[in-house]
Symmetry: C2
């Protein structure tokens, strides 16, 4: 059983949704309508020994917990507004340092910390629940249509290389390490994509190879690995460590970039209206998720499984 | 440093609150106003080895995580509406069982699960974030006035004895064990207290001896230990295990009863309007928190510290 199977089985247990619920669990966020305002809600938990090791400071962990939740809000086209944070730690000093990172990220992303819980745990564990606000219709994972183009914000693979640098205690790779420890949710691009009416959107947390399948429920896609946006430092470090840069960019995970499905003209307008670079990497098709390289199909690309 | 000191220090780091925030962190819940509706928000994390051991099933843990959050909502006078749940577990099967307990509690308390996260962790860890709705003004911890009476719902000490029974593998104590594993948030009493305009309210999670101090910021109280509502089975098991029943009832924690401060006539009206028994246990005074027994002051009573 993997995370998706857990979610599928929980979904069968749910009671009927109250009228406020526009979108239930299964997307990047659930969507609520309260009065005349629309809200999105999600949570993400980070656990020492699984999501990070001693190379991350408690402040980094708190910061990242907010950033990855803000990324889920970005993937719906929303603006993050409020968080609740529960932190478990071996010592109160560690919890406090983690919360300081939470507050730092909140200030960076314009989010207000409503409170939460702090308790003892053998290893640092932080869970952030986020409420974001929508000014438009939400962009769901399910709206991709054959003929749409696939675009990705920013760059891929940098976070995975930053992780390798951290694990090896390498110096001189501060940019890549920062991409791993302090990801940048693509809030402006997410809102612009929603405003323009993009068909489908998801944030890349588990890796493109895995996450692209969530926007291909009922449709397919062809992704050209040669088109993936990989920066020179990412490529150089990958090659020096004996990794294929494109494979790592497609499978490494934790990029927290947005994958956006929309007609190509809309993506062109989007690219002109946001600061972050947007790169076309493929097309939505009728069926099958296919990765290509030099015109040849590439098999066996998968992303992160939360339980292995 | 204890949990309160962590919260105090975090409070000094907070950015200015947005206009929706009526009550920031520091009470049982934060309070938000969205449109013309008021909401309360809180989160609580349960960690294996600290909040429970193998004597709790994953279903119990999931159920309890929702119940204790619903109790925070009850302590504001609200109705629990939505939860987000993040569960970390060594295996997906354990996470799924925990989520099944979450859903069971949601159905019991009329709450809808909006989603959350599931991930691998070395030990079962569950965090629930809750949104509740208010039909009245919230009842804060801070509104107690000298001359108010102190009342408590239900009974004290049963959960602490249930815990002792679980730790010793005792049989025949199912009622006490159920009070520990499946606490009953006092939602009806909380809402009635808010409707009647009670001065202050808190739910008893860390133990009366500790929690009563939160409603005595700037005032004091006298609590008569002889008045604490302790049921016969609680008293008998406490005595058979060599514990003083009143001391255990005042310090054991996890009762999830409501402590309500209000003029005595209001408490009389409240007692007549709710099903759960209400017991007068003391008075709010000008200063000093005092526990008495047989007219003599009792020193050294403290509740649960989350970091010891």
């Amino acid at each position: 059983m993997n995370e998706l199977e857990v979610i599928r089985r929980i979904s069968t247990l749910l009671p009927p949704a109250p009228p406020e619920v526009l979108v239930p669990l299964g997307d990047d966020c659930a969507v609520l309508e309260i009065g005349d305002r629309r809200w999105v809600a999600a949570s993400d938990m980070l656990v020492s020994g699984h999501h990070f090791e001693d190379w991350a400071t408690p402040e980094d962990v708190g910061y990242k917990a907010v950033a990855v939740n803000a990324s889920d809000v970005a993937a719906m086209g929303g603006t993050p507004r409020f968080v609740l944070t529960s932190g478990g730690a071996p010592a109160p000093e560690t919890a406090l340092r983690c919360f300081a990172g939470v507050v730092e990220a909140c200030e960076r992303f314009g989010v207000y910390p409503l409170g939460g819980d702090t308790t003892r745990a053998d290893v640092l564990t932080v869970d952030v629940a986020i409420l974001g606000e929508l000014a438009t219709q939400p962009v769901l994972r399910s709206g991709a249509s054959p003929g749409d183009s696939l675009a990705v914000t920013g760059e891929l693979g940098a976070s995975a290389l930053g992780l390798l640098a951290l694990e090896r205690g390498m110096t001189g790779q501060e940019r890549l390490i920062s991409r791993c420890l302090r990801p940048e949710p693509r809030l402006e691009a997410g809102r612009a994509a929603a405003r323009l009416g993009a068909g489908a959107m998801i944030d890349l947390s588990d890796g493109l190879a895995s996450d692209v399948r969530h926007v291909c429920d009922g449709v397919g896609c062809i992704v050209d690995l040669d088109l993936l946006p990989i920066k020179d430092d990412t490529r150089e470090l990958a090659e020096s460590l004996g990794h294929d840069p494109e494979f790592l960019a497609a499978t490494g995970g934790e990029d927290y970039e947005l994958l956006i499905c929309a007609p190509e003209p809309l993506l062109g307008t989007l690219a002109n209206s946001v600061e972050v670079p947007l790169t076309l990497i493929g097309q939505i098709t009728d069926s099958d998720v296919i990765f290509e390289r030099g015109g040849e199909s590439v098999d066996g690309l998968t992303g992160w499984n939360h339980f292995t």
